[in-house]
Structure formats: structure tokens, C-alpha cells
Symmetry: C2
């Protein structure tokens, strides 16, 4: 599948792995030109290696010096000294950069006259544009005469700038333009791996993983295929991710030891990720002092426990100086937590945060806490309320380096949910918003489901009404974004080749949530499929866009309707089972009866969940007339003949959307069939196979959901289509 790959390619990823959005062709514009690289440090080495690799493929040249022939591209640090962390990392014995240039030089001043003039002009241009410092990761791009200049204050910025130019391709080398500065909106753009070190008897190696085994772990140790991990780091950097939590939030016995005697395994992964500017975080078990520390308690207010975390964390930093911090799932779905000791989650989070603080580490503390032993008979309890009930009262009690990590919706990564009210409820706390790139509830990478439009809706949502800040603003001011990875050791990384777009888009939206998901999709298509080199670039581009752009709404149409959620097979969560969770302890109900369906979460007659929102949403959601159609059944129990804002009745809407969703999948398959010959045949075959399953599954969803509501309501379809 790696066609057009030259003999001299020294790319670190093995030949049988798909190159995703960084194939050699993506570097054609850069690699066919002359590039100068100014700067020093581990990540500048990486920049140089990337450009050198591109040039080997495409015939350009690259030099790391200030003198020589005129360049088409200048990648330059702006003279600021390398940051301490970078210096240290670069000098570490574990560093993996091939030091082909003499190291120790710090060309902090560009000394070639021609280049100096270009850089001076670019800097002046940037200053004129009102640009302040670019920061740790920002960069500016200027097109000056025949030369494109990327400026950065720090090495990571230079790497991100390089990938920016790669994304632009030839258009980076068009008409001159003044300086444009790019800084990440989110300081931390994190990916959480739910990878188990040991294979779990029920959940397998990657919990909720749909792309094979772990690329980070195998047979209880760090995965021996280091090249694959480095190739992964490169892809993550290429879309903007800068932090990775390397193990499942459900921390079992073996994984608990990563913190102590298995720390070398973590350090090994950290070494590989570091050269692409990515820090390692670790999921830890709140009961670690008992599990691996030999203490009799994990009480957060116990002095011995506190000392244990301080000492243990000191050892972590001694081994991994740029370690990012801890991630904890506590008092949730069986994981231990502070509740066991009569403490609250601020006590718990602050305990670990205190240990991390001296090193600049952060404590990601998940707000996904709820009672999973709920009595389905008791309609007064409401899982959607749980995170707010638990965390909102704690606002202001968390230390500065605690990040409370909040799932974007109040339940659990459903295809459609409202935004979590916790996001508007903790102004005195740093919040990170958590997404799920792995498609647990959205087709498990057997269905095409491009999730960026969904995330974009969440990110631009204004919890306090139109004039207030967005969810993205809250995250940007707080802890940034986190998301569950969709990657495994599958040759396509993500099982479904088109699911790569979700990982790419997550990184890009985390860097800049103002990006339009359709533009990000086109970026990804251009990088991944190289339409320019195809027989029909426009057909290829347009068709892929049409298949993917609306695929999340298509998925929504043929699955659970109107925001009701969780009509999935229990356990594995794939495929329909309308009553699958209806009489269980998981708190995920729809209460369908012969008259109507939906969860009454109003203050007036329901669980009162709407009261967790500030105005205007507390009013909007309270009213069945004002509530957006797509969330109606999340907030209200209504009759089947209730007329939606769309004009349709609830039950006819269910029929219509389900039939429409199936038809859209058919159209998707037809479109994909038309791409035969324009797409790598191996990719084409894999997607073909998945589309067949998606078609089968969509039909099953449609028929089961329609049959269920037809049998319950007795209402026929107005168009007389088959209901079983």
C-alpha cells in the first residue's frame, strides 16, 4: 500500500503500515525545494530529519546553516534560547534523534546576509501585524518574494510550522503575503489511550479499541516495535497533539505498577514521543499506595499516603524529567477513589496534584463519576445529573495544577447529547473537555462516522447564551482538550481507513477549534489521498468529502433517535438493542411505553437535570416547545404524536430518519464504488468490506428501531414502508 515509495526512503514506520495523513506525497511541495533550517535542539533535529526525508523523495535540498544558496523555505527559530525542558531532553541518552549535524552549536543569530535580510523582514512583518511572542508552540508564516519563512520562538513551534507548510502544499509557495501567526488555542491537546498492558479477559488489550492490539504495549511490556511508536508520534505531531496518556483509565494490577517498578516501560515510550514534542502522562490507580505501595490505606488525608505519592512522583520525574502528569478515574465503575475514605474528589485530586506540582506536572481528574448500581425502578435518580452533583460543589477547591476532565456530554459519548452542565458550573476550576475519538457508540470503526462536525457543535456551544464564551473558550482558559484514542496495531492504524480522519480532526480542532470541520476534512483528504496525483482529482476530492462530511448525522439518523441514546447491545455497545439498557443498573433509560418515549429531566415534573444549566439553556431545555428537536427525548417524555419543531410527529420522525439513514449509507457505498481505480486498491477493499457491514448494520438498526416503536405505538408509517 506504500506505492511510489523510493528506495532511499528512511521513514521510521514499517513498510506494511499505512502512512495515514503523512505519506511521502504530502511532502512533495517542501521536498522538491531548497530549505534552510536555523535552530537547535531535539525538535529542530526532527524538523531537519523530516525535511531531509522529504528531499530524498522529491529531489530538493536542505541545510542547517546560515550560508549557502537562496532558499525557497526557511524554518527558523527567532533567536530565543531553547527551553530548559527541550535542552535537557535533547541531551538525554535516550534521545533518538539521529545527530547527523554537529550538535552543541546554537545558531541563535542567522548570519548569512541574504537570509538575515529575509528573516529581518519577516520579523518586522510579524511585529507590524501586531504579533506578540509566539510561545512554546506557535509559529508565523511569511511569504516574502520567492521565499516562505516559518518563524518560531521555540523548537516545537518550528515543527508545527513545518507541518503547516506541508498541509498547505504548493499553496505555501504562491503569492507573497504578510506574516500570519498561528498559536494553539488549547495549550494541552491530549490523547488518552485506553490500552491495557496485559490483555484484559473481557475488554481485551485496548478497552473500547476497534483497531487491533495496542501499539504501546504487548505481552505485558512496552511494545518492542519502537519504530511504530515513533511513526505514531509523528502522525500525532502532524495534527497537533502534544500529550499522550499511555494506559487505560481502568488501572488493573499490572498497569498500577507502571508507576513504580515498571516505570522503565513508560520511560521508553516517553523517549519515542519526545522527539515529536509529545509528553507522556500516566493513568494511575487511586489505591496505588495500597496496591503497589504496601500501605494499608489510600486515604488522601493520611500523612503516609501523602508521603508515598510525593516520593513516588519524585522517582517518576527523576526517570522522566518532562513527564506530563497523572490521569485518574476515581469512584467510577468499580475504580477506587476518595469516597472509600469519606473524602471528596478535591481531597483526592489535590493529594496527587501536590506531588506533581514541583515539577510542573498536571493532575487530570475525570469527572465521569456516577452510580452504576442504579435502580431502574426509581425514576428520581438520573445518571446525567451525577457529574454536576459531585463536582460543582467542589469548584474553587482544586489546586492550580488539577485539571478536571469532563466528558463533553452528561452521559457517555453518545451520538447525541447536550453539552455537560459541568462545563458551565466550575469557573474557579481548570476544566478539560473530553471527547471520544474511538467510535465506541458511533459505529466502532466499522461504520464511516466523521465526528468533527459533532465536536465542532460542542466546542462552539455557548453555555451562557449567545453572547457568552463557548465551550472551546472554557477549555482554552482551562485544561484544553482530551480524547480517547482510536488507534491500534491495525495496518491502517484505525481499522477503518476513513476513521483516521477523526484522529486528525481531533488534533486540528484541539489546536484551533474555530476551524471548520469540512475544511479539516478536505485537508485530511488532500494529505492522505493525494488527489493531485490522481486521474480525476476533483472527483476523488468531492466524493470523499460527500461520503464523510455528513456521515455523523447519517449515523445518528439510523440509530437512536432524538437524543435518547443507549439503544445498543449491552457490554460491547455495537448494534441495536432498544431495551438493552432499559431495565439495568446503568442509568440509561428511554421509558418507552405504548403512549410515548423519552426521559423527563425537567424541573417541573422530572429529575430536575435542566436546573443544572444556567440560563438561557435552563429555560430552553425545560420547554418541550423550545428544546431542540435533536435533544427532545433526552429532556422530555412525549407522546408519539407530539409534533416536533420540524413539523413531523415523533414516531413519524423515527421512521423517516431511519429509512433515510439507510438510504444514505447506500449512497455512500455507491459513491465509494465509483472511486475504484482512484484509490489504493488495498484501501478500497478494506473500506468496501466495512461499508458492507455498515449497510447491514444500518438496515438492522432501522428495522429494529422502527419495529420496536411500531409495535409499541401501533402507528403505521404514513408512506406504508415495511415495519416488522
Amino acid at each position: 500500500m506504500r506505492r511510489n515509495r523510493p528506495e532511499c526512503d528512511t521513514s521510521p514506520d514499517p513498510t506494511d503500515v499505512h502512512p495515514a495523513w503523512l505519506p511521502p506525497a504530502a511532502f512533495r511541495a517542501v521536498g522538491s525545494r531548497h530549505t534552510l533550517v536555523h535552530g537547535d535542539g531535539l525538535l529542530v533535529d526532527t524538523v531537519l530529519r523530516e525535511v531531509r526525508l522529504a528531499c530524498a523523495t522529491h529531489g530538493g535540498t536542505v541545510r542547517r546553516s546560515a550560508d549557502g544558496p537562496p532558499a525557497h523555505l526557511v524554518l527558523a527559530l527567532t533567536g530565543r534560547s531553547p527551553q530548559p525542558a527541550e535542552t535537557e531532553a535533547a541531551g538525554r541518552p535516550g534521545g533518538t534523534a539521529p545527530a547527523t549535524e554537529p550538535s552543541g552549536r546554537t545558531p541563535s543569530v542567522v548570519n548569512d546576509d541574504g537570509m538575515r535580510r529575509v528573516l529581518d523582514a519577516a520579523r518586522a512583518d510579524l511585529a507590524a501585524a501586531g504579533g506578540g511572542p509566539l510561545g512554546d508552540e506557535g509559529y508565523a508564516v511569511v511569504r516574502h518574494g520567492e521565499v516562505t519563512v516559518v518563524l518560531a520562538d521555540a523548537p516545537a513551534g518550528l515543527l508545527h510550522g513545518l507541518f503547516h507548510v506541508v498541509r498547505l502544499g504548493e499553496s505555501a509557495f504562491g503569492a507573497p503575503h504578510p506574516a500570519r501567526a498561528y498559536r494553539p488555542v488549547m495549550r494541552r491537546r491530549m490523547l488518552d489511550h485506553w490500552d491495557n498492558v496485559d490483555v484484559h479477559p473481557v475488554m481485551g488489550q485496548v478497552e473500547r479499541g476497534y483497531a487491533g492490539g495496542s501499539i504501546l504495549w504487548r505481552d505485558g511490556r512496552a511494545h518492542p516495535d519502537r519504530a511504530r511508536v515513533r511513526a505514531y508520534a509523528r502522525l500525532l505531531a502532524g495534527c497537533g497533539i502534544n500529550a499522550v496518556s499511555v494506559n487505560n483509565v481502568n488501572v488493573h494490577a499490572t498497569e498500577a505498577r507502571l508507576l513504580t517498578d515498571r516505570l522503565d516501560d513508560v520511560a521508553e515510550i516517553a523517549d519515542d514521543l519526545r522527539s515529536y514534542g509529545i509528553r507522556v502522562h500516566l493513568s494511575v490507580n487511586f489505591a496505588a499506595p495500597v496496591m503497589v505501595g504496601g500501605l494499608s490505606t489510600a486515604d488522601p488525608l493520611d500523612e503516609k499516603v501523602r508521603a508515598w505519592w510525593v516520593e513516588t512522583t519524585a522517582r517518576v520525574y527523576a526517570r522522566i524529567p518532562d513527564f506530563g502528569g497523572y490521569l485518574v478515574k476515581a469512584d467510577s465503575e468499580g475504580q477506587p477513589g476518595p469516597f472509600s475514605y469519606g473524602r471528596d474528589h478535591a481531597d483526592g485530586a489535590n493529594l496527587l496534584a501536590e506531588a506533581l506540582a514541583p515539577y510542573g506536572g498536571v493532575m487530570h481528574w475525570r469527572a465521569f463519576v456516577y452510580n452504576h448500581r442504579q435502580d431502574w425502578r426509581d425514576r428520581s435518580t438520573d445518571r446525567a445529573r451525577a457529574a454536576h452533583d459531585t463536582f460543582a460543589p467542589l469548584d474553587g477547591r482544586f489546586q492550580d495544577n488539577v485539571i478536571v476532565q469532563v466528558k463533553h456530554g452528561p452521559v457517555d459519548f453518545q451520538t447525541r447529547e447536550p453539552v455537560s452542565p459541568v462545563i458551565a458550573a466550575m469557573p474557579g476550576t481548570r476544566l478539560a473537555v473530553e471527547f471520544q475519538v474511538t467510535q465506541e457508540y458511533t459505529g466502532q470503526q466499522r461504520h464511516v462516522c466523521y465526528l468533527a462536525p459533532w465536536w465542532h457543535e460542542v466546542l462552539r456551544f455557548t453555555p451562557w447564551g449567545d453572547d457568552g464564551p463557548t465551550v472551546a473558550d472554557v477549555a482554552a482558559d482551562g485544561g484544553g482538550l482530551a480524547a480517547v484514542s482510536n488507534v491500534g496495531d491495525d495496518p491502517f492504524w484505525t481499522g477503518h481507513p476513513l476513521a483516521q480522519a477523526n484522529l486528525y480532526a481531533y488534533g486540528r480542532l484541539a489546536w484551533d477549534p474555530r476551524l471548520r470541520p469540512e475544511d479539516v476534512l478536505d485537508e485530511w483528504i488532500d494529505l492522505t489521498f493525494d488527489p493531485a496525483a490522481s486521474a480525476d482529482p476533483e472527483l476523488l476530492r468531492r466524493t470523499l468529502h460527500e461520503i464523510m462530511d455528513d456521515s455523523w448525522r447519517t449515523y445518528e439518523r439510523y440509530t437512536a433517535p432524538l437524543g435518547v441514546g443507549f439503544m445498543v447491545r449491552p457490554g460491547h455497545h455495537y448494534g441495536p438493542d432498544v431495551d438493552g439498557y432499559e431495565y439495568t443498573a446503568w442509568g440509561t433509560y428511554h421509558f418507552a411505553d405504548r403512549d410515548g418515549v423519552g426521559v423527563d429531566r425537567t424541573r417541573a415534573t422530572g429529575t430536575g437535570f435542566t436546573g443544572q444549566y444556567p440560563p438561557p439553556w435552563s429555560q430552553v431545555y425545560e420547554s418541550p416547545e423550545q428544546c431542540p428537536d435533536e435533544l427532545l427525548l433526552f429532556f422530555h417524555h412525549v407522546r408519539y404524536d407530539h409534533v416536533l419543531r420540524s413539523g413531523s410527529t415523533v414516531v413519524q420522525h423515527i421512521y423517516d430518519t431511519h429509512f433515510a439513514g439507510v438510504a444514505e449509507v447506500t449512497a455512500m457505498s455507491d459513491r465509494w464504488a465509483a472511486l475504484a481505480g482512484l484509490v489504493d486498491p488495498v484501501v478500497h477493499a478494506r473500506v468496501d468490506e466495512r461499508l458492507a457491514e455498515q449497510q447491514r448494520s444500518a438496515q438492522e438498526w432501522c428495522d429494529q428501531v422502527n419495529a420496536y416503536f411500531h409495535r409499541k405505538s401501533g402507528v403505521p408509517d404514513v408512506y406504508g414502508r415495511p415495519l416488522y
Copy 2:
């Protein structure tokens, strides 16, 4: 838990295993008397060992000779020579009988005058009673003066006669009575173990096992605890079972090799079972010629395949001369079969039968064949029809030593089903009726559910109407009974101590299906709990009887109503999920909608399944008015307000029975609580723990089923009880 166990006890079962229905106390009447044993052979050795063990505990004496003091009990072969098979088995090096008596003697004629007179009188008595030969396993009991005499033609009969006297206890030694002959109604009384040799990743070591691991296999080999296997054989003989299939009918890779290079493992188990008169059978994979034989086909009409089975079977008999035969699940739930080669099940069964015939082996061929990839939308297909559709046309085509093994109901061991129409459809074929002692669908040995009343109903059912033969008659004339074992390596054998009664009762009903289940229950109670030695024998006896006797109907009441079946959680089949199988490929539906529920299997408007029965049942089941209430929803789709023969409406019946079932479980628990102090505290605690789970589960069943039908029908409970 083995209280009252004397030091000199040489019982073969380990001390931490419950003695089930053969505790030392059960042998009190025999063991405290003087016994003479006449006869020779392996099973007479076993009889002698059993009596000797009893005497060591209870102070009696036993001799194997014709002279000596007067005896209270004479166990005597009637002078017939030992059977060839027994002779051979006794002489084999693998024989395990402790030869404490000088062997080689054949006291075929009783030579003590007193004893000779007793025996002559007993024989005369038997002849006067019109008794013909007692056969391989039969026996006669005479009480003559102060002596009880058990006569048998063959050693196995003597062993069964001994256990008969044990069951009678003191009453075997009461008033004189003339000879009574006992012969098994079913020639073969078989127990099928669904034990995997290797642990299966989904099904575990024992498929549908609820009592721990296998007692026959461990770590891929025959279980090293041979004493446990012998103790098991003793219990089986003690209730009348004489054949055991030692591995799961789903034959995976390792198990397929039991037929060839792993045959020694089977022989080892055969050695242990032989000394209690039990033959070993083996589940084999129809594709064995390919899987382990290196052939390219398993086509039953292929000459090489035929030769392979002939040779392989010859090797089996060379190693295990009294090997019972094969058991095959073919073309079912993924197991291979003759359909793969365009052949039918007669072709398949006859192939293996031919190989077994020279040795007297039998081929048990399961009729459990159906399409498990059914389209739930297609109401014309019907899993209940499948066995009849497949097998009835083949009647007369099976060789004499083929036994077609038919599940008692047309679906799959549900709590309530009609009798399978296959039982009346194959007069030219030897049929065995298959039961399920393991409680897959009847509470998984966490619920008290005494199944004998259910089996008894099936066995006395008259497929051709009142004047015709019963199901028991069909089985007696054919292949007897088979049943899936409920035993594992749990210290109580069956997880739930009271579930031992099901295994006991199965063996007893297989011996004599005319026994009343309530009498068998009392037998089991008396043997197992030794009420005579308790502080309140009557309370103990009566309470246990009350708890267990109606427990199957109690279970039926709180689970799936009116014969509809399969409202269980998919996969593991424990606990309620009314729609769990409703939209699946398994063919197990109820079609509940807002108006009614049930499966229309009539000829008039449904799947036509009723037409598979002969009159009168073809008419009775066709009519919703004549159909027995308890099967109504199996045969008919009716409105919720349909009035049952009981006078109740369907939906009110559902509510009433579910509330009643829960109340009965509460009563059960209360009764059990009253037995504290009268029952071994370890047993009491285990049952207590299970009853708590049964109570929880019954309530869950009740609330879910009632909520489901209330939400669908909208009909309130006439008594206003809570519906959620």
C-alpha cells in the same frame, strides 16, 4: 461438612467434598448388619467394598463366602456366569477394585445349607411372582424371615440392588414380603458432560456449567484427581446412571484429538467409571477425518472417510473394550456436519454407526439442528419446526445402532415447552429423549428449581393421545434417556446443594419413569440429610419437601409466561431480558406489541408447526380455546385481554403469576431459615447465599416482565400493585 465421619472411613471421595446422596449415614441400616455377598467380578468387588465401608462405619460384618453365621442381608448373583464384558474388565490391569478377597474363585453355587435354603426360597418366590430373567441390571428383593435377599442375574444388578436396599434403609429389614423384581425401564441412562478439555475463551471449562470447573478434565488432560472421578461414578451408580459422555458436544481442536492420540485420557476415565458399571461415550467432531485424520474431506459417502472411521474406531475399542459409542452434534450452531457435503443426517449417522457396530457401540446423533442465522423479520420461518423438518423424513433410514437424541422440547430446554413432535414422528428409528439437568434456563444453580416434576410431565405425555404410548415408552423402546450434567468441581458437586436432587432424580426417573417426582424427592432428602438423626425429623423432611417440590413451577411463575420462553439475557441466559432475543438471528421470538403477545404456530394463520403433531395434539394446539394455558403463547399470538382457561386475562395472569412467584421465593427463604440447626451449617450457609440471589433475581424478573407488559399493554394491575 463431613461430620460423623469415622477414622476408618476409606471412602474414595476426598474429605472436602460433600457426600451428596451417599453419605455414611445412608448406609446405617446395611452397615450395622451381617451381610453375605455371593458372586464374582469387578462389580461384585464394588458391592463388597461398599458394604465393607458401611460396616466399618456402623459396626456390621460382611463376608464373601457361602459359609458362616446367619446373615441379615444376602446379596447374591443367581448362579449365572459372569458376563464376558465384566470378566474382561475385571481382569484388566486398569481395574481399580481393591482385591482384598482371594480372586479366581467363582462361587457360582451357594454351598452353605442355611443360605442355600434362603436363596432357594427367594428364587422360588421370584418364579412364583412370574418374574422372568432379571437381565443385565435388574434385581429382585425378598424379605424372608429375618433375612433380606437381593438376587441378580448379573453383577450390575447386584450393585443396583445394594443401592436399592440403601434407599430403603431400615424398612428393608421390616416385615417379610415376597419377591419384588426391579428392572430398569430405560436400558441406557446417559449423562452428557459438556466439559471442555481446554478452557474455552467464552464458554469456560464447562459449557453451561454452574458448578465450577470440570471434574473430568484439567489443564488439557484427564483430571489428576482420580478419587473424585470414582466418587462421582459411585453417586451416578447410586441413582442408576450407566453411561457418561465425557466431553462437550461442541468439539473443539483439543477435544477432537480424544478420539486419536489423546485416547489414553478417555481410557483413564473409563477405568474409573467401569467399577461402578458405567460406560464411557465420546463426543466427536463430524469433521474429525479432516481435523485429526489428515484427510481433505469428511464426506460420509467417501470411501477414505469410511475407512478412517472404521480404523479409528477399531483403535478405540482396542484400548477401551467396553466403550459405549459416539455422540455427535452436527450441522448445528457452527458444528460441521453432513450438510457441508450435500448429504443428510442419515448418511452422517450411519457412517459412524457402521464403524461402531462390530463392537456393540451406539451412535447418539443429536436432532438439535436448526438455522441460527434466521431473519427475525421473516415470520414464516420457525425454529421449533427445524428438528422435525430435518429428521422426520429420514425415519427408517438410520442403522440399528443409531440413536437419534431428541431434546424433549422443540426449542431448547426452556422452563416450559410442548413435547417435541419428533418424538412421535420416527417410529422406525431408535430415539433417546434428552433432558438438561444443568439449569441453563432454569436458574443456573443459583435458584432452587427441582426439575423432576417437569421431566415427569414430559415422560408421561402421550403424543398420540390418552390411550397411546407415553414419551417414556418411546424412549424405553428406543435409546433411553440422555441429559446434560450439572456437576463440576464445586465442593457440593452442583454449586447449589439442592441442585444435587436434579441429578439424583434424573437417574431415578431414567431407571423408572413411573416413579412420582415427589417420592424421588423424599428419597433424596432421606439419603442426603439423614432426617432420622436430626432433632426434628418431620420438620426437616417436610420443610425440604415444601421448599423443593413445587420450585420448578415457582420458577416458571416469575420468569417467562405461558410457554413463551427465551426472555433471558443473550449469551449467558441468566436473568430477564424480555426483548433480548426478539430481534436476533436465533429464532426465539415472542412478537409482543401493544395489542398482544405470542407466536402464531398454527396451520391456519401461522408457521404450521402444530401440523407436526399427530392427533389429538395437532387439533388441541391449533385451537386457542383448547390449548393448555401454560403453552398458549408458544402456539398462539393473542390479545392481552384474551381470557385464559383459568378465567384470567393474559396480562393479568402475567402480573399475578409474577407477584406470586416472588412471594413463593420469600416463603422458600423463610422455610430454609427455619432449618438452621437442623442442617449442616456449611450447607445451610451456601443455600442461604443462593436464596438471597434467587430472591433478588426473582424480584428483578417480576418487575421487568411486569413493567414490560404494562408499558406495552397499558393495562393496570387489577390489584393496584406496583408496575414500573
